[in-house]
Symmetry: C2
Subunit: 252 residues, 2 copies
């Protein structure tokens, strides 16, 4: 399994509201979890402001470095929505109104005052793009090659991810299992290092916490190989138990 | 005011647990808001895994591009905590045990089983670094030049930010004011663009929402100049009111 191809994705979160601290991002988590199920690993995230050069640079680098690139934010109707123009610039293509998007928006706004220039801005795509269905509101997402341009509002992004489910090629999904223990991680650091070394293709993450006045730690073991995952979690649990720290399957 | 120097910072979030979607990041928001108060703008964030090359590359680029670089995560006692080594590599310096950190950890663990090799790992710093006080737990943060190496656990990071408050040089704080309105942003896109154009040094962000079955939008106006901020928010409020959309000061 260790020779299996690993498919990776990057994500660019576009928006001054995240960098100013006004809005807590929810898209990293939901896109990461959705990608895991598709057999694709989120390998890198960048958060950039509503600044064309920053978006263009990030799009060029990350779309070249990964199988897939997702972006969120900046596809609304207002002056601060510059994602489509910046991605078109990064790709070296023009911007055009997608006829299907015009039709979708015309229907969506028919009983809401009709389309206007601002609303039709949301039908603009980098030339050659396809649409991603948006079941929540009018404006669709956009796919251009390996780039997926999604909404910033997490509920709308969730609907767009649903529309894409099963359509992206991925590899074996990354599996994980959790073990919790009332132990300080600094007590068992050598054990973790050794278990990761002897179980090929497994990564062990160690996540300490303070709760109910006690110190504990959760260990997340990840692998694309279910047999290796079972072997590693079994060996780690047995070793923790033997050291006097009874493991709790599933984590604490 | 438009010629005033703007101080910027970047942030690198280090950790597989964010990229896997297991843990929702809380550090972007709290560091962004803390930086605003110091007169420093968070200009860029990257999230990278526990992968040395990715950390080294991000540290080199972002510490050169911004006045300050913050990192969170990867400074614990276990094998997956590689931040200090990666940053030392990026800086081209060695790694050494900081004597004050050894003393802090020795005291902290005195009645918790004493220090061991894993615990003393948390006293390792890039050569030439200073410490950042950690009032929550034993392991200190680390400062090396313009790089600030912070914990991943948000409550511990918060304490380290407190310890740094007032010690970083910044510029005029970025001020902001909010206006809410029960309007579709696509109805008033031209107005927003025009108001931003005529109020030099102001940015207007537009953040639509669906709530209580109604569509609304909050507008955040930002500027380092309080007079410009007042003028812009006053003009925008008056224009919204004149169009039949009564503005709600402070946002909805």
């Amino acid at each position: 399994m260790s020779a299996a191809r690993i498919w990776t994705a990057a994500l660019i979160i576009i928006g001054d509201e995240i960098l100013s601290g006004r809005t807590e991002d929810k898209n990293i988590g939901q896109i990461a979890r959705w990608l895991n199920v598709q057999g694709i690993r989120l390998a890198e995230v960048r958060v950039v402001g509503d600044v064309e050069d920053a978006i263009v640079d990030a799009v060029r680098r990350l779309s070249a470095a990964h199988d897939y690139l997702f972006t969120t934010g900046g596809i609304g109707p207002t002056h601060d929505d510059i994602t489509v123009d910046a991605i078109a610039k990064a790709l070296g293509v023009g911007v055009e109104h997608h006829p299907d998007a015009v039709a979708v928006l015309t229907r969506y706004y028919a009983n809401k005052g009709g389309v206007n220039d601002a609303r039709l801005r949301m039908a603009r795509v980098p030339a050659g793009a396809e649409l991603i269905a948006n079941r929540m509101s009018g404006a669709p997402g956009i796919r251009h090659g390996n780039i997926f341009i999604m909404a910033g509002v997490p509920a709308i992004t969730a609907g767009m991810l649903d529309a894409l489910t099963g359509s992206l090629q991925g590899g074996a999904p990354l599996l994980s299992t959790s073990i919790g223990c009332w132990v300080q991680e600094s007590e068992i650091a050598d054990l973790l290092r050794e278990q990761e070394r002897v179980h090929d293709g497994c990564q062990i993450g160690s996540y300490p916490f303070f709760r109910e006045g006690r110190v504990g730690c959760n260990f997340i073991i990840r692998s694309v190989d279910p047999a290796q995952l079972d072997a590693c979690s079994g060996a780690l649990s047995a070793a923790l138990d033997a050291m006097g720290y009874p493991p709790i399957a599933g984590g604490i």
